[in-house]
Amino acid sequence: MISLTSYAFVSMILFSIGVIGVIARRNIFVIYMSIELMLNGITLFFVTFARYHFNLDAQIISILVIAIAAAEAAIFLSVIILLFRSKKSLDTDVFNTLTQGENS
């Protein structure tokens, strides 16, 4: 019963929930967690194919993806601290400081 398709189903559902979180939510923390969820879904896909082809290279790519996610977590959370300190909000619509002249 456990086939390649069922693992692909689970990982595609997780990836889709990540994309929907980036589309639908305005809280910047939830957007960050949705990006992590997308990375996790694709990692599960890679590990499934590593087991399917009995080849370790896909597992090594998954390890590299996890390391990149750790680096991304450090940068993203410090950017969140910076934005929250200057704007006192977690709303993504408030963070428009790069637009020219608008409520500067």
Binding site: I2, V30, Y32, L44, D57, I60, I63, A67, A74, I81
Partner: protein, 175 residues
């Protein structure tokens, strides 16, 4: 049969945690839902006989990154009025659902045409730390070194970004 039940339970936990992350208003409950998802995905890795990745997932994701997220959430002391109100959350979720259905159908159709193989846990040392380390240091050495440089850059960058800026002289005099 046992592996089927474990697979069903773990995938149900993973999807339920992801949905809880998507729909909760408070970010701390979202983080706890994501934690459940991370642990379940670690269990799925173990079911795919990737034991080293199982440990990496538990230690790095469920340990380090989730601790960092929860620490930052508690450190910022987020009140109810800091949260954005999202009146169009559920219509946008429905829109995203409709947008993602064709991609899902495409990928699942492509994957289901592949020949079926046995995906149970193997008795060989596939996915243990020794073969993974041999493959990592033989074939992927440059990527590994570049990842170490990337982590160093991220460390320095996060310190520079989160460092408290010195107040300007004029503002200090006015206060």
């Amino acid at each position: 049969m046992m592996a089927d039940i474990i697979f069903l339970a773990l995938s149900a936990f993973a999807i339920a945690g992801a949905i809880a992350m998507l729909t909760n208003k408070s970010p701390i409950y979202s983080a706890l839902g994501l934690l459940i998802t991370m642990l379940s995905i670690g269990g799925l890795f173990a079911l795919l006989s990737a034991s080293f990745l199982f440990m990496v997932q538990i230690i790095v994701y469920a340990g380090a990154i989730m601790t960092l997220i929860l620490f930052i959430l508690m450190f910022l002391n987020i009140k109810e009025e800091d949260l954005p109100n999202e009146p169009k959350k559920y219509p946008l979720i429905g829109l995203g659902l409709i947008l993602m259905i064709p991609l899902n159908i495409l990928v699942l159709k492509a994957v289901s045409n592949l020949p079926s193989k046995d995906l149970n846990i193997t008795n060989s040392d596939f996915g243990d730390i020794k073969p993974v380390g041999i493959a990592l240091y033989n074939n992927w050495l440059i990527s590994f070194e570049l990842i170490s440089i990337l982590l160093l850059v991220a460390l320095v960058g996060s310190i520079v970004l989160a460092k408290r800026r010195k107040p300007k002289e004029k503002r200090g005099e006015q206060q």
